[in-house]
Each structure stands twice: as structure tokens, then as C-alpha cells.
């Protein structure tokens, strides 16, 4: 493959190192230092993709991160393929494979291209209009659109690359290493500030580093040479850290910034191996200096999107930096002087420059004179009105403009041969990061730019992102602003002699006139989303006024590039059309990230088992060895059930449930929240936070408590035991433990600081084994023979301290299953040994380990609620038919007043009831709706099923439910309508088993 489109004058490309890569399956060669874009251009490949809506052929437009068209899919591996990468940012490496996106079957023959001819049917708001009516069509549209829209393909397998996060702190952060960034970083570091300099490119120096024209001189040196000396000095400074290939994604309040450091994307496959691919830097900077430069504007005219139409500054960079010739017949189209810099630079390299089309009447600046002296043909007061060539630009048509620039000075149309057109529409300061940080912009009328106005934190913007576009101003103002910002007296850059060309005239026309009706033109404003000036005008005609609305309706600026190139034109066209001043239209909000981030970078190391921390009980290994299935409860891994011999979950749970009620079962209850409460006001404190009374609870006794929110709704529940006069141990639900602790601390610190109470979370300090069932007393007796387990000495709802061997433990005789049951708490590191001892002692009684599912079933048989399953934050204790636990005597407790609000006292609130099915084998679905009439329209929902099981002990299906006015519905027949049938049910009392509590008092 010949590499004939190069000039031999680039310092930045290593022409001795050939790099081969594949694009759309074809092998090409570039050089080390090339981007995919520069290498493709050097191979005369302009057509790289298809546009989003019309599937028009599109080429490379820019040389940087603002690229709207040349976005490609990198890699074809299922694990490490990445969509939506800008070809202008990909540094080529040996073995790189990239493909075009958004085209099928190929970029050269694209079926969706037919949309281009259907485009009158795809106006602004097409999606909204189409999907409004009829609703039943949506499924069909969706299918078509999902297959034709969308950019790129996401990987289908887990990403094997390594990503990282890092916190970074600095005194001064400088964003952007162009000439102003270099000035700022050098000054900051020289003055003792710990400085961090970031740039998204792989080289420092911005656009100045390849500015070889003697129209631009600093300290009597050509500007690129001067800057290169500065960079060499800069690199020697101690206080400075430089990170290239690092793009700042977002700038938040309090000078908190996120940046993506790209570490291996430019390396070959072998070199990448086992290295961190990208790192997310979380930066806290005392001061921030934004030097992000500016973006060149395209010009908006009919068919301004053909491959070969580029930004003038990009053509210059490809020639000066990469030594790449973009076109054999180059024409520039401009409204300012910068196109002349590009034209002269090309001309001096011997690259053909056909002409410059300038919408201005004249300019007398030195650089324009130089172009004239070189003999470059200039068409003053002319505009491009159309372009020709489908997959590659071939010709342009130009016409002379009228004086006001809104129409033409005649009917003469000139056609010029041209395969590369450089657009120079002026410059837009890159204020994205500034506005993300909360900064407010002001509009500068004379050159139609938004520039920073009010800084929300300790930050400044310098250089062209602050609206300085000429070299002398950039150096002088950057240096002065940095001095003031950092409180220093002088810099290396005071009183430098600077030679620059001063711009003599400006003219700005946001939408250039056409000799055709607007409806017949395609002047693109947003290339990536295919939004044209026509669409914007249509939106305005349809009544949209706010820029935010126009943006959404036309999708202008809503692509992955966020409209970096075209947003200003959209604003300008709105202003011109509606007659509102540009500064008053406002701007849309720039949102992070500035350029897209990979999910890998965002997630960093928090993948797989590190995504969320797990908590495991001391008995965990035993559960694993005994084939337990686990369920997640909050962060806990809890044993769910213990299947034997290929049992299903249902079979295992039925077996575990039966065994527990017939003889004995054992549950790992270590995850229950445990809070140690001490202090002389501990009883008073419990009185205030629970609905029932605590002062008279005897030492060594346990009591169940319900905790409400101040709104009267059940918040948590659990058993609390009085260990001594001023010492309690509270248990909470597994999932609620942390919130209960926080709530109790809140009340103690803020409402009742006078109470003498100390709270300590001891959940992890104890392991808990609960043995229950008719034989549990015998098992405990084997474990602790000297403990008197008689009902007189150790009745239900009481507590004993005991010893197993030499190890102290706390035993509560409490029950969540309705069985005689003991909860043994032991220092956590003896948990597994306790468990094994219980199993050993229980062997002769067929002690059966059961998990959370059996626990849920057993408690449902007994009608015990689970907070969070049978309650949902809208249930009062009265709704739960638990009036018995609400003290009438206590003057106050959290939530008491709310129980007497008119709303909480309503009779027809949802109330907890039991349900049985007419067919005892039919198990209801949890969450199923309950109705009283099947043929109603609309059907009135009375409530829903909250817990449902097949009870092996009762040999029937049972369920708990919340039903409107359910308390007074006992015996009533209701229905549970399902997809294909309706289930007949009867409302019953929620206690299904042992209402007399014979079992737990046994």
C-alpha cells in the first residue's frame, strides 16, 4: 500500500517505524505517532462512517476529541471491543482493528442510506410525532428503530481489562497543555505550588507546538521552537506532575474533578498485557487553571457534510503535525483569518491550495497579505452554496454574497474542482468544564463567543477558552491572570516580545444563504445526530422557543459529542430566526463527561466480588460444607436452605419445616442486628422508642418490641433483653440493623441529649445459633447439663447466662417459629464450634439445619410478621392487628401521636389478614392482587399477598396479605385474579398454628 499522501517535514511522526492496522477488514500502514484518522487520510480514506439518521456518507472532520463523524468500533473481540471511539484520538498500534459504525452491510453500500432519500419524511421531532399515535404501532417502530439506530456494538462478555481509581491532591491543577497551560504550569511549579498538568493528547504544546510560520514569533523565535524550549524546562521542575493522554471528564463543585488517564490504549496487544488500561483520577485541587483552548467552528451551508469537508485547523494539523496531505485540490472557506494560516502552511509545503472563499469583503491583516503575495486565489464576499460528490467531495459551487450577507449579489454560480474543503467559521472557547463547575458565561458581541464570567470556586480560565485568540494577548493575559490568581509578583513571561498577525475584520453568518428554498437544503448543524438548520427552523415554526426544548426536539447537541461543533450555530440560528439577541437565548447545559468514559473506568476495581462487600457469619464454612444455598440479605450471605440428594428448594423447605416441628431444627441467626444499650436512662430510652412499656421489665427477661417512625408506621422489630438494671441488649432485623442504630443515635444526640444512654453495635461480636422444636430442651440439656431448663427457672421470654465448656454464652428462650426455642449467643470466634456442638448433641434427635426460607415458612404458620415483607412503610401496628403491643398508658413514644391522625385511624386502611385457598394445594403468588369482584371495570384492588407458602405442618396453602378493611372480613370470600385463571380465597385470622402457644410454652 503506497504512503504517497505525506510531506516529509513532520517532527512528530516516526517515519522509520511502520505500523500496520486494519480498517473495515482491509490492511493499511501508518507510522508510529499517527492517529487512526491521520493514517487513514494518508491512505486517502476519507469515507469512514454513515450518519445517524440519513445514513449519509461521512468523513473525518477534525483532528481532536470534538470529532462528530469519525467514530469507530475498536477491536472485534467479544470481550474487548469498544464502540464510539473517535478515530481522531486513537493512536495506531500494530494489530489495531477498527470498523465503521452505523452502516449495514458496509460503509460503501449502506441500506439505511435510503433514509437520505426519504428525508422529507424524517423531520425534526420525527420520533415524537411517529410514536404519538397509534400506540399499537409502537412495537413495530421500536423493532425497526432498534435495528437501524444506535451507534456501535457493546461487548457481549465481561471486560478482561484492568481499570483503576486514584485520589489525587494538588495545589494547582492545570487543564490543557497548550501555550497558556504551559505558562500556568511552569509559573505555578516554579513558585512552589504542587502542580498537576493534564492534557488529553499524547504531546504537550497544543496547536502552538506545530506552528512553524514566522508570522508568529516569541522572544525572536518561531513560536513552536520557543514553546518546545519552555516544555523542556518545564519537565525538569520538581513540583510538577505531567499526565498526557488524560482527559478531564467532569468538573464539580469544591474543585473536585474526574479525569480519565489512558495508559495502554496506544500500545500493541502484547505490550498491553497485564497492565492497567485506564485510570480514573479523582482530583481535589486547591486551585484550578482551565486552559482547554477553543474549538474551530464549521460553517453551515447546503451539503456541508460530505467526506472531504473538514475543519481548516484540522487540515493544517494533519499537514504540520502528521505530515499528511488531506486533499490534492484544497479550498478553504472562511469568515476570519485562521484559514489563511492553514492555506499558507499548506502552500509552503508544496501542497496544492486552489483558493480561499471568504465571506468578508476584505481584510488587510498581514497574514492575508502574505496569502495574496503567494498568489493564492481569494474570492472575497463569496459563499459556498452547494457541494457535489457522494462518497467523496468533487466540486463546490460558490456565489457572490449580497452586501448584508443574507442573499446573493447576482445569479452567477461558479463551480470549482475540489476534493478537500477546509471550513473556518471562527472559534468557540471550550467552556464546557467551566460551566460544569457552575460557572456563568457572558456573551461577547463583537466575535460572538460565550466566555467565562463568574467563577464559582477558586479557578480561572486562561488562553483561548477565556476568549483570547491572538498570541500576544494569550501570553500577556495568561501570565497576568496566573500571577494574580497565585499571588506572585513576576513570571518568566512578563515583557516577552511577541510577533503575531492581528485580525483586521470579522463577519459572522450562522446560516449561510442558499439559492434554494430551505426545505430543499441540508445545512447540517449537528453532524452526529443529523440535525439541520431546516430542523431548527421547523421546531421554531412549531412553537418551540427555549433552547433546551429545541435541542431535545431536533436532537441537536444530543450525540456522544454533545454538539461541540454545532451548538453555537443552533443558538445563532434561533436568535436570528426569532429576533432575540444571541446572549439572551442562553446556552444549553454542558454535562459531564466532556468525552465519553468507558464503564470500566467508572467502575474501576469494583467488579465481581468487589462490587459490594459481603458479610459472612462465623458458621459460613459449615453451611458451605453442608451444601447450603445462600441468599443475600442486605450485605449478608445467609443460608437459604440445605438441599439433600438433589432436592428442589420446595422439597428441602418442606423437609426442614416438618423436622423442626416434629423434633428439632437449628438456624444460624448471627446476622440479626444487636445493639448494646447501657446507662441510667436506658429503660426510659426504650420507653420512648418502642410502642410498649419497658420500665417494669424484670432483669433477665426478654420482650418483643415494635419500633415506629414518627409517622406511626412500623420501622423495625425485635426482642430486647434486660441483662441488668441499666443494661439491655436489643436485637433488630438483619437488614434494618444499621438504620436502627443510626436512628437511635439521632434521637439521643439531637432530641434527648440529656439522657444517660450509650449505644454500641455488637452485631459482629456475637454468633447466634437458634435451636427450636419439641426436643430442643433435651439438646440444650446435653450441651449444658448444669443449667436448670425447667419452665419455672427458665420460662419463655427469659434469659440466662451460661457456659459451654469454658466459654460464656447468653441464652434467650424466645421463639420466632412458635416452637420451644433457645437462642444461644456466643463470642463470634466460637460460633462455628458452638454450631458443631449443637449439631453433635442434636444428632440423636435428627436436628435439622434450616435456612431463612424455612424460618419464613414457620413464622408465617404462626402469623408472625417480617418487617419489610409484610409491611412496607405504610403499616401501623393497628393495621397489623398488633394493638396489644401499643401502650395506652405511656404518655409518649416515637410515632404515638401519628396513630391518632384522622388518616391512620381510618377503618378501611389495608390491614394484615391470613388467607387460605379453596383448593388447599394452590399456593398464591406473593405480590398477587386481591379483589372482591371479578367483573368490575375498573377492577378495585383491595390489597395484595405479602407472604405465601405451602405449609407441610397444616397440609395446606397459607398466606398473609394486606387487605383494605381486612380486619372485619374474616370468613369473607375473595379472589386473586391471575393471568389465565382466578383463585378463590377466604380471609382468615393470620395465626394458622397453635393459637394457644402450647408449643412454645412446652
Amino acid at each position: 500500500m503506497p504512503l504517497n499522501l505525506r510531506v516529509k517535514s513532520s517532527n512528530f511522526i516516526d517515519e522509520t517505524t511502520k505500523v500496520s492496522f486494519k480498517f473495515n477488514g482491509k490492511t493499511y500502514h501508518g507510522f508510529k505517532g499517527d492517529t487512526l484518522a491521520s493514517a487513514l487520510l494518508a491512505n486517502n480514506v476519507h469515507l469512514v462512517g454513515r450518519s445517524f439518521k440519513y445514513h449519509r456518507p461521512r468523513g473525518i472532520m477534525t483532528s481532536g476529541s470534538e470529532e462528530p463523524n469519525a467514530i469507530v468500533q475498536v477491536g472485534n473481540d467479544k470481550t474487548i471491543t469498544e464502540p464510539n471511539v473517535r478515530a481522531t484520538e486513537i493512536e495506531i498500534y500494530e494489530g489495531l482493528e477498527a470498523t465503521s459504525q452505523n452502516c449495514w452491510p458496509s460503509v460503501n453500500f449502506d441500506i439505511g442510506g435510503i433514509n437520505n432519500f426519504l428525508s422529507p419524511l424524517l423531520p425534526a421531532g420525527f420520533y415524537y410525532k411517529t410514536f404519538m399515535w397509534p400506540a399499537s404501532f409502537w412495537e413495530k417502530y421500536e423493532y425497526v428503530i432498534r435495528h437501524s439506530a444506535g451507534l456501535g456494538k457493546s461487548p457481549t462478555k465481561p471486560d478482561t481489562d484492568i481499570y483503576d481509581h486514584k485520589y489525587v491532591h494538588c495545589d494547582v491543577l492545570v487543564i490543557g497543555a497548550g501555550i497558556s497551560g504551559i505558562i500556568a504550569a511552569k509559573t505555578a511549579a516554579q513558585n512552589g505550588f504542587k502542580t498537576l498538568l493534564l492534557d488529553e493528547k499524547n504531546e504537550l504544546g497544543g496547536t502552538t507546538i506545530y506552528q512553524n510560520s514566522d508570522n508568529f514569533k516569541i522572544d525572536n523565535k518561531i513560536s513552536s521552537g520557543w514553546l518546545s524550549d519552555q516544555i523542556n524546562e518545564l519537565k525538569k521542575l520538581d513540583n510538577l506532575e505531567i499526565k498526557t493522554r488524560t482527559s478531564v471528564a467532569s468538573f464539580h463543585g469544591y474543585n473536585y474533578l474526574l479525569a480519565r488517564e489512558n495508559l495502554t490504549d496506544h500500545l500493541s496487544k502484547d505490550e498491553k498485557k497485564n497492565k492497567i488500561r485506564q485510570r480514573l483520577l479523582k482530583i481535589r485541587a486547591k486551585k484550578v487553571i482551565v486552559a482547554t483552548g477553543s474549538l474551530e467552528r464549521p460553517l453551515v451551508f447546503d451539503n456541508n457534510d460530505r467526506p472531504g469537508i473538514m475543519l481548516s485547523s484540522a487540515i493544517k494539523k494533519y499537514a504540520d503535525y502528521y505530515g499528511v496531505i488531506c486533499g490534492k485540490k484544497n479550498i478553504f472557506f472562511t469568515n476570519n483569518d485562521s484559514a489563511y494560516e492553514s492555506a499558507i502552511s499548506l502552500f509552503k509545503k508544496g501542497i496544492n491550495v486552489q483558493a480561499i472563499i471568504d465571506i468578508r469583503e476584505k481584510s488587510n491583516s498581514s497574514i492575508v497579505k502574505e496569502a495574496e503575495n503567494l498568489g493564492i486565489k481569494i474570492y472575497w464576499s463569496h459563499s459556498v452554496v452547494d457541494t457535489h460528490g457522494y462518497k467523496k467531495l468533487k466540486q463546490i459551487s460558490i456565489m457572490q454574497l449580497s452586501k448584508d450577507g443574507q442573499s446573493f449579489g447576482g445569479l452567477n454560480k461558479t463551480i470549482l474542482e475540489c476534493d478537500c474543503l477546509g471550513m473556518a467559521g471562527g472559534w468557540t472557547p471550550a467552556v464546557h468544564l467551566f460551566t460544569q463547575s457552575g460557572g456563568k458565561l457572558k456573551f461577547r458581541e463583537e466575535d460572538q463567543v460565550f466566555i467565562p464570567n463568574k467563577y464559582p470556586s477558586k479557578q480561572i480560565s486562561i488562553g483561548s477558552c477565556n476568549g483570547d485568540f491572538e498570541l500576544d494577548n494569550i501570553i500577556k493575559n495568561s501570565s497576568n491572570d496566573v500571577k494574580k490568581f497565585l499571588n506572585i509578583d513576576k513570571t518568566d513571561f512578563d515583557n516577552l516580545s511577541v510577533i503575531t498577525s492581528k485580525e483586521a475584520s470579522k463577519k459572522n453568518i450562522w446560516l449561510l444563504p442558499s439559492d434554494k428554498a430551505i426545505g430543499k437544503t441540508k445545512p447540517f448543524v449537528d453532524y452526529q445526530n443529523d440535525a439541520t438548520a431546516k430542523d431548527i427552523k421547523l421546531a421554531l415554526r412549531e412553537g418551540f422557543r427555549s433552547i433546551e426544548h429545541v435541542k431535545r426536539y431536533t436532537t441537536t447537541g444530543m450525540g456522544t459529542d454533545q454538539g461541540k461543533l454545532g451548538n453555537m450555530h443552533a443558538l445563532g440560528i434561533i436568535a436570528d430566526t426569532t429576533g432575540v439577541k444571541m446572549g439572551e437565548v442562553g446556552t444549553t447545559t454542558f454535562r459531564p463527561p466532556y468525552t465519553p468514559l468507558t464503564f470500566g473506568t467508572i467502575v474501576g476495581r469494583n467488579v465481581g466480588e468487589y462490587f459490594d462487600a459481603f458479610r459472612r457469619t462465623p458458621m459460613n464454612d459449615w453451611h458451605i460444607n453442608n451444601k447450603a444455598e445462600f441468599e443475600n440479605v442486605g450485605q449478608w450471605k445467609r443460608a437459604w436452605y440445605y438441599p439433600q440428594n438433589n432436592e428442589t428448594m420446595h422439597e428441602a423447605v418442606q423437609r426442614e419445616s416438618l423436622a423442626t416441628r416434629e423434633s428439632a431444627g437449628i438456624l444460624d441467626a448471627s446476622t440479626l442486628g444487636k445493639i448494646d444499650i447501657q446507662g441510667s436512662d436506658a429503660s426510659e430510652f426504650l420507653n420512648r422508642i418502642y410502642t410498649n412499656a419497658w420500665s417494669k421489665l424484670g432483669i433477665g427477661k426478654c420482650r418483643y418490641g415494635l419500633m415506629l417512625n414518627e409517622d406511626g408506621m412500623v420501622y423495625d422489630d425485635g426482642v430486647t433483653t434486660r441483662l441488668s438494671e441499666n443494661h439491655y441488649i436489643m436485637t433488630t432485623t438483619t437488614g434494618g440493623a444499621a438504620n436502627v442504630m443510626a436512628k437511635l443515635e439521632d434521637y439521643l444526640q439531637t432530641e434527648w441529649p440529656e439522657l444517660d444512654v450509650y449505644l454500641t453495635s455488637v452485631t459482629d461480636h456475637f454468633a447466634t445459633a437458634t435451636i427450636g422444636g419439641p426436643n430442643s430442651k433435651k439438646i440444650l440439656n446435653k450441651l449444658i447439663p448444669d443449667l436448670d431448663l425447667s419452665n419455672e427457672n427458665f420460662p419463655h421470654m427469659s434469659f440466662k447466662e451460661a457456659q459451654i465448656g469454658k466459654i460464656k454464652c447468653r441464652i434467650m428462650r424466645i421463639s420466632f417459629t412458635g416452637e420451644l426455642s433457645y437462642e444461644i449467643n456466643i463470642q463470634a470466634n466460637f460460633g462455628k464450634s458452638l454450631w458443631e456442638k449443637c449439631i453433635e448433641a442434636g444428632k440423636e434427635f435428627n436436628i435439622t439445619p434450616y435456612g431463612t426460607e424455612t424460618m419464613h415458612l414457620l413464622r408465617a404458620e404462626k402469623g408472625f410478621i417480617i418487617v419489610g415483607q409484610d409491611t412496607d412503610g405504610t403499616m401501623t401496628p393497628i393495621d397489623l392487628q398488633m394493638d396489644w403491643i401499643v401502650s395506652k398508658k405511656k404518655y409518649d413514644f416515637i410515632g404515638k401521636r401519628s396513630l391518632y391522625r384522622s388518616d391512620t385511624m381510618k377503618e378501611d386502611r389495608k390491614q394484615l389478614v391470613g388467607l387460605i385457598t379453596d383448593n388447599p394445594k394452590e399456593v398464591l403468588e406473593e405480590g398477587a392482587q386481591i379483589v372482591s369482584e371479578l367483573n368490575q371495570s375498573p377492577v378495585q384492588m383491595l390489597g395484595h399477598v405479602t407472604s405465601s407458602y405451602y405449609s407441610p405442618n397444616l397440609n395446606k396453602s397459607i398466606a398473609l396479605a394486606v387487605v383494605r378493611g381486612g380486619k372485619n372480613m374474616i370468613g369473607k370470600k375473595l379472589f386473586v385474579p391471575m393471568k389465565n385463571k382466578s383463585i378463590n380465597i377466604t380471609v382468615v385470622d393470620p395465626v394458622f398454628l397453635d393459637k394457644e402457644n402450647k408449643r412454645l410454652n412446652a
Partner: protein
């Protein structure tokens, strides 16, 4: 992300803290004496102003202490931090 000056620990990252709603809403001493409307006023009504807002914050992943903050909701500037029980500044 703010940097919050915990009155007990000093400057810390916002991720260590939890916001706890409007400050200086005292729980009524005698809730049973209140009408439904008065109780609802305490229970539900909260200010949501543009400008200086008085808020409660908790250093959840630190000392776990609650404290008060005056924050300008329009730009997130933290104007003042003071301990629980201290009187709000009058202005």
C-alpha cells in the same frame, strides 16, 4: 462533591457524610396536645428554599456525630457549620 468541615474531625469528603434534612425542627414536648394540623406541620412540612438553608448532617463514616450546616442551595457554598444544640445564627 463538597468538602465538609466536621466540627469534631475537620475537613472530610462529602462521601463520609449523610444529609439529615432541615435543622432546628424540634420534636414537640407534648405531641398529644397538638391538633392534627399542628402535628402534620411538625411531621411533614419542610422548607426547600433557594439560598441559605439550615440543615442537619451526620458524619456517618466518621465520628457519627450530628451537626448543623448553613448551605446556600443555589451554589452549594457551605456558609457555616455548628454543633448540635448550638443556636442558629440570626440574620
Amino acid at each position: 462533591m463538597f468538602i465538609i468541615n466536621c466540627p469534631y474531625c475537620g475537613d472530610r469528603d462529602q462521601s463520609e457524610f449523610k444529609a439529615g434534612g432541615e435543622a432546628h425542627i424540634e420534636r414537640p414536648k407534648q405531641p398529644t396536645e397538638l391538633s392534627d394540623d399542628e402535628w402534620a406541620e411538625y411531621l411533614f412540612m419542610r422548607k426547600n428554599i433557594k439560598g441559605d438553608q439550615f440543615e442537619r448532617w451526620n458524619h456517618t463514616h466518621g465520628c457519627r456525630k450530628w451537626f448543623n450546616m448553613v448551605r446556600d442551595t443555589s451554589n452549594d457554598e457551605i456558609k457555616l457549620i455548628y454543633k448540635m444544640g448550638e443556636k442558629p445564627p440570626t440574620k
